[in-house]
Symmetry: D2
Subunit: 154 residues, 4 copies
């Protein structure tokens, strides 16, 4: 789904007026791409008949990264009664998972195109996630008080 | 993510050679859009301050539909050792969830743009899912023997 | 979590008065056990250093079954505005996934204890799911009108 | 599922020999209970006919907490090629989500038994998660080098 379509979903959220809608849309899009890339990569590694064993770490990290990114996208799609503490902690876990998976996939990028695509998707997702965390940190982090949405609105 | 990008992921699957890659890519894309639309719609309904109670059914069905579509997309992204029985049973559950959610959301389409967008996303997803089921039925259904992928390749 | 604890959760659901609470609690418990067994089995197969390739189908079906059961449990835990069509379609997909996984795991039961445990968990889950479907069928299935809960109340 | 059953799953993991198996089993059990409690609570709040609006924050945080705990349990169930950085980051996100949900649910504990049960499940889960994080910190955290499992084995 192109980021503009996600943007239209996000814009039609009754509490979304003040958000940096595009930042959100791009992060959610990157997460969605990453879920697909990681799920495909884990599965494709499993299908590499005589090399499954050496791709074990790649499979594991791709499974984790797909799960973590799917969850993170889900949290970002929800705007009602956001807990900024929860969202930012999850963003950090997501960035960590993307980095670990990207590093491992990059080792196999030369041999397998699915690893190459997955490494790129993870890197992009990691960058978008880090950027969102940066936004949160710049505008301060209280004990769940004001909404992430409001902060991001700048 | 545009369908072409998903196509590149799917193509780089070692067992994908014979698949109707575009059909898969479009179904996965429709599912992914539907997850976002339903998650947003459930959350946005929750945010409609004085109308939450009347949107209760819409929230419930959107939560279910988001969960069902996310799972179905995940199964379709995996090509290694597919069980056609499992995949087609899940596709049927997905089509049912999309239809139920679309019907409910359409009732609120005039009042809420998020319901309108969600109804459309569900309808599209339902059609893609039904089409894939049709493909499976046309080519027969054995007890998990040949791969759905091979059948769909025609 | 023992079934009694789940029962206390289910009982404290404002719409649960008339449900066959124990049937639900036992099905949810079986699904929860199955998620754990399948996730563990997929992972343990991946860890069987020199046998990963021959366990590929087991890994795939266990991943699918874990995902399908986790989703099905989630639907059963929700009682507000149930769509009986959606729930029963998902139960059928779940029973199919459990059967496919149990069959494959049983082939490796002699060699691997994790496959043995997983086959048992899948069988139990399949039986609980089939029983719930039977209940639904016995009490009729309308187009989403009365709640599954009410029907099951007998 | 009682912790002993999970323990038998975990023990039959080829890489689990050295783990503090019981700690893991108890954490996974607490997470599993919390997923059920939060899913039920969000749904039950939605069913509280005339009070849905005031329970909005409770619904949101329960949905998030259910999603986060389900993911965290999944990561802990996997022992092959663990990334301790990923797992500990996810544990932190989980503890944060549990705390936020427990706090909100406690406000409604007097009025709703489902909120009371959910608050307790979240607190227990938060404590188990914090304990596991503490174990990781005590044994050091390198850049993904030795396995969390090995560290926890003490």
């Amino acid at each position: 789904m192109p980021a503009e379509t996600i943007e239209s979903f996000v814009r039609n959220q009754p509490r979304a007026e003040m958000q940096r809608v595009e930042d959100y849309a791009e992060a959610i899009d990157a997460l969605s791409v990453c879920v697909k890339a990681c799920t495909t990569c884990a599965d494709a590694c499993l299908g590499e008949t005589s090399h499954v064993a050496e791709l074990r770490r790649c499979i594991r990290l791709s499974l984790d990264c797909a799960d973590v990114c799917a969850l993170t996208a889900r949290l970002l799609l929800r705007h009602t009664e956001i807990s900024d503490l929860v969202v930012s902690a999850q963003l950090r876990a997501c960035v960590t998972a993307c980095q670990a998976c990207a590093e491992e996939c990059r080792k196999h990028s030369g041999a397998y195109e699915h690893c190459h695509l997955c490494a790129n998707a993870c890197r992009n997702c990691q960058q978008r996630g880090s950027y969102l965390i940066g936004e949160v940190v710049s505008f301060g982090l209280g004990a769940g008080a004001p909404q992430l949405a409001v902060r991001l609105a700048g």
